[in-house]
């Protein structure tokens, strides 16, 4: 069943159409949630909540944007709401994306010139660094660099401007670079310490 047909039938409450839409999009939504919260149980709960909201609102979908964009907007909002509740603060989406840095041009922060990340990062330490990003940066980074959305789509999903999306992505990448550099330095320190302990023990 093509997606457009599934949407039409789901708007009439057809059970098979709901399932078809779920099958078409569940992996991508789950992946987004998992990247955002780094916890499979939470990601599954968020995926469930996103689809429930989708199906409750599907009658209002008019096709002005792509269905997947609409669904991702719901999913991102569900995740951001969850993260806000978790942090115990009532913050707006703008605050989540750190608007006070919006107007400025990219930070002139080149980081340590002595370390290169090439060959020293893997999925695990990249995800660890992503976990430390502010939610807004994280969402834009995951949507663009992990899931491959374009800035105009992210702007629709996040409810922001294209320029804002580009700016958030730049800051996310720069922040990740700093975090990954720190992780590499930390690892080097530990290795030196272990080597020192080891040679000291032999003396």
């Amino acid at each position: 069943m093509p997606e457009a047909e599934a949407i039409r039938l789901a708007q009439q409450g057809d059970a098979g159409a709901f399932e078809r839409l779920y099958q078409l999009h569940n992996r991508r939504v789950y992946s987004l949630c998992l990247r955002m919260v780094s916890n499979t149980a939470e990601a599954e709960d968020l995926t469930q909540e996103a689809f429930l909201q989708l199906f409750r609102k599907i009658a209002t979908f008019r096709g002005e944007s792509a269905f997947s964009t609409w669904l991702h907007r719901l999913a991102v909002n569900v995740v951001l709401m969850k993260l806000r509740r978790k942090s115990g603060t009532e913050t707006s989406l703008e605050q989540v994306t750190e608007p006070d840095e919006e107007s400025g041009s990219p930070r002139r922060d080149f980081g340590g010139p002595d370390i290169r990340l090439s060959g020293s990062i893997d999925r695990v330490n990249l995800q660890r660094a992503v976990d430390q990003l502010p939610p807004g940066y994280k969402a834009v980074f995951v949507l663009h660099d992990v899931q491959g959305y374009e800035h105009n789509e992210i702007a629709e999903i996040m409810g922001c401007s294209i320029g804002n999306s580009k700016s958030q992505l730049h800051k996310a990448r720069m922040r990740l670079r700093g975090l990954l550099h720190e992780a590499v330095r930390e690892k080097a320190r530990e290795e030196r310490k272990a080597a020192g302990t080891s040679s000291g023990g032999e003396d």
Binding site: D14, A15, Y30, R35, E44, S105, R108, L117, R123, G148
Partner: protein, 221 residues
């Protein structure tokens, strides 16, 4: 000679690492080690990001079960036909694949939907072995009673089939019953295991489908 300075390069670095043409960027990166290092790092992050979802497992099938149960409770789903969970390919799937979903199945729908919901529970219910065991035993007993009644009806229709077909169907039922027994045992041993409950639910669903299809074919003869 590079006409771009570091500030200009930094302003366009994202386009540059994404492969867009940025006049002067290549020349600048050749002459400025700091900017070149930054571009290399951001490119490395970008490439690593693409690989992040590769290790992701599929989301649990219980998500759909829970979503569907909730939608049914809220009355958003129109026709409550039997749940179609992603499940192991049943050996009988192909045998009766040509038979339309029988009206007969409606008799089991309520029980299956309830069983599906009870066996799945909230996606992440706190693990409590005794609570799960009690829920599962109660649901299994109710469902087994309904399936037993359905089996009697289906068996009565077997007389309309040829001896060979009857023997095959009896054997298939026996296989499903064994499957259910094994799954029930697994659930008793690990009542908190989502996978064990999922398999048990699928086994019940397989038997309900098989009985419904036997009856449907018997009535159609």
């Amino acid at each position: 000679m590079s006409t771009m300075n570091c500030t200009d390069f930094l302003n366009h670095i994202d386009e540059w690492i994404e492969g867009q043409e940025v006049p002067g960027a290549r020349d600048h990166s050749r002459t400025c080690a700091q900017c070149r290092g930054l571009a290399e790092d951001l490119g490395t992050i970008r490439l690593a990001a693409v690989t992040l979802p590769e290790a992701d497992a599929d989301p649990s099938p219980h998500i759909w079960t829970a979503v569907r149960s909730q939608l049914e409770q809220e009355g958003l789903i129109r026709n409550g036909v039997a749940l179609q969970l992603p499940h192991r390919a049943g050996w009988f799937d192909s045998i009766f694949s040509f038979v339309p979903r029988p009206a007969f199945a409606a008799a089991y729908v309520g029980a299956l939907v309830i069983a599906g919901f009870v066996l799945s529970g909230p996606v992440h219910m706190p693990t409590d072995q005794d609570r799960w065991r009690e829920r599962t035993q109660r649901t299994s007993a109710e469902l087994n009673a309904q399936l037993e009644a359905a089996e009697k009806t289906a068996m009565a229709s077997l007389t309309t089939f040829s001896p060979d077909v009857t023997a095959d169907l009896r054997q298939n039922l026996s296989i499903v019953d064994n499957d259910i027994a094994l799954c029930e045992k697994s659930v008793q041993e690990s009542p908190e295991s989502e996978i064990a409950r999922d398999y048990l639910y699928n086994a019940y669903q397989q038997k309900a489908n098989l009985l419904a299809q036997i009856s449907e074919r018997g009535e159609g003869r």
